[in-house]
């Protein structure tokens, strides 16, 4: 556990990192970014908290059960969105044309419209959730190994 200044600053910075990570996840269909990239940004914020607070402290807030549930839920949402188009074909973009994310962008350059893309932004969120949970769990487990304990079952 590092000094009081570092801990306080880390507590303040995590909010901004979270917002920036969510921005990268949400705009994956317009600008460079997407599920994995945004998830990695948020996971690096978790690493910052791990360095500032130490693995024993962080383990009380980030329980392993919660991370497993988050990870499985992200994967199941992704699979559910893919299966939902099975009436036509698996992975069929059934949201194009509907009001939810269904607008079709005009050809040629122009400012991007957020409500386009079909189910791609929703899948970005699911993948981002899964990546955050997975990478945080991996980093937390490695840090706990280094301090001699095991991750709880």
């Amino acid at each position: 556990m590092l000094s009081k200044i570092v801990r306080t600053v880390a507590n303040q910075l995590i909010v901004f990192i979270l917002v920036f990570g969510l921005y990268v996840i949400a705009h994956g269909h317009l600008t460079p970014g997407g599920g994995f990239q945004g998830g990695a940004v948020i996971a690096s914020g978790v690493v910052m908290l791990l360095v500032a607070f130490g693995s024993k402290e962080l383990r009380k807030s980030l329980r392993e059960r919660v991370l497993t549930i988050m990870e499985s839920t992200g994967a199941l949402i992704f699979a559910a969105l893919a299966f939902a188009g099975l009436g036509t074909v698996f992975f069929y973009n059934f949201l194009v044309g509907t009001p939810v994310f269904g607008r079709i962008p005009p050809t040629g350059p122009g400012p991007g419209d957020f409500w386009t893309g079909g189910f791609v932004p929703l899948m970005n969120f699911a993948v981002g959730l899964k990546v955050v949970a997975g990478l945080s769990a991996a980093v937390l487990a490695l840090a706990l190994f280094a301090s001699g304990e095991e991750m709880e079952e």
Partner: protein, 117 residues
């Protein structure tokens, strides 16, 4: 920049792959072996991104990009997937090395061998 040849990224990727093959085959420390695999994945990712470049091309995104040719976006998607897979492989390898160190007390691949013949 005329003094840098156009296929310089490919030479760099081949150099990275060659050096990492040397490291994987000849170095005995397990952590150095893992670093060699990370370096090789960097070399292959560099190769994939470099092969999509078109001279004078723009970024392949939707928002406010000027007219003209775009670089190929498919190798960028391949590179992203490759980066994700290599993150998982490296995490798994590091965990196994931690267990090997706990059981045998050494990170040397000759001293921590148990299976022979």
């Amino acid at each position: 920049m005329e003094y840098i040849p156009l296929n310089f990224p490919f030479l760099a990727a081949a150099l990275l792959a060659g050096v990492s093959f040397y490291i994987i085959i000849f170095k005995r420390n397990l952590i150095k072996l893992i670093m060699g695999i990370a370096m090789m994945s960097s070399g292959v990712n560099l190769f994939l991104v470099a092969l999509g470049y078109r001279a004078g091309g723009n970024v392949p995104i939707y928002t406010d990009v000027p007219e003209g040719p775009m670089v190929l976006p498919v190798p960028q998607a391949l590179t992203l997937t490759s980066i994700v897979i290599n993150v998982a492989v490296l995490a798994l390898m590091l965990t196994i090395v931690i267990h090997i160190y706990r059981h045998t007390g050494s990170l040397d691949s000759e001293k921590s061998r148990r299976l022979k013949g």
